[in-house]
Amino acid sequence: MGTIEEHDGFISGMLALLECGGLLFVNDIGEWRPAFRKVLKIKREQKVARHNEVYDGAFEIYRESNTSSCLMRLDSFDQVSCGPNQP
């Protein structure tokens, strides 16, 4: 099911790996959804991410692309080498 802290850790971790405007798609069954929704509401209020619940248990979560922190990371994305195995 997961605690709010765990869901926050999961969503925050995945958002950190998303490009600005990128999509985190989550779908599952079970009783985890109330805690998950609470975290998404906080992320929306913080303007970090917005989401659509496509159907019960399926979430499209978009990392906001117009926040300054996201744009700064995009700038650095263009400048930082990802190493020999990355294009």
Binding site: E6, L17, L18, L23, N27, F77
Partner: protein, 250 residues
């Protein structure tokens, strides 16, 4: 060098190390491989190699990062290989592949790999691993969605977006039996998907399904940062049917 991760008859190429040969492996590890056809290539021997202990557990971490054995050059063991294991390179399986078929070798592999290879993956384990249990308790689902020849995972609207190149860098978080990679491969979507990374399975037996399908996956706890550079980003992260297990962390 992690040659334990090599499948039976899998090949290891050591690049950028002129003069590297079998004697450069630890004595125990050197028993597991033969020299390959190409310079600095090595092929994992078939079956269990004599005089090298069999690992009591899978060498990979479980879903939450716990490791049951630590491998090192001094503590080398070999993975258990079932007596009836059949590599895709053995004639009995290889003859199923059509050399001039419209389908690539890698797509034919999804069809022809030997299904019993992912069962009884641990020696002397009466309880069995995930594949043993699930194939018994949910046989139809196991056959239709876990070891099937036509891996699928994307819901229709998302599949369309991938097909038309909207998403180019994809992370499968909770990849399980690597169905997403299999679907992208067999449908030819890697023409537009440039980066793909997958992690997360119930146990090693599930990762064996990935290996047999020819997919790369690894174990990682998603509550910890992924071991990729800070600037490596994805435009689609996909999580299917794994969030319900979050409390296992407790």
């Amino acid at each position: 060098m992690r040659i334990l991760a090599l499948a039976q008859q899998g090949a290891l190429f050591v690049l950028g190390a002129d003069g590297f040969n079998i004697s450069d492996f630890s004595p125990q590890a050197a028993r597991l491989v033969l020299a390959g056809s190409y310079p600095r290539s090595f092929v994992r021997r078939m079956g269990v190699v004599p005089d090298l202990p069999i690992c009591k557990n899978c060498g990979m971490a479980d879903l939450f990062g716990r490791r049951f054995i630590e491998l090192s050059p001094e503590n080398q063991c070999q993975a258990w290989v079932q007596p009836d294991f059949k590599s895709i390179f053995q004639p009995v399986i290889a003859k199923r592949f059509k050399p001039k078929a419209a389908e690539s070798f890698e797509n034919q592999r999804l069809i022809h790999w030997y299904r019993p290879n992912v069962l009884k993956t641990k020696q002397e384990d009466e309880r069995g691993e995930w594949t043993d249990k699930y194939s018994q308790s949910n046989t139809n689902s196991y056959n239709a969605a876990y070891v099937n020849s036509n891996p699928f995972k994307l819901p229709f609207p998302l599949e369309l977006a991938v097909k038309f190149g909207k998403y180019k860098r994809i992370l499968d978080a909770g990849a399980g039996r690597c169905s997403l990679e299999g679907e992208l491969r067999r449908k030819g979507y890697f023409k537009t998907v440039h980066n793909f990374l997958a992690f997360g399975a119930y146990d090693c037996s599930m990762l064996r399904i990935c290996a047999e399908r020819g997919s790369i996956s690894f174990q990682h706890n998603w509550l910890k940062p992924l071991p990729v550079c800070a600037s490596c980003k994805f435009d689609l992260i996909y999580q299917w049917a794994g969030v319900q297990y979050m409390t296992w962390e407790q």
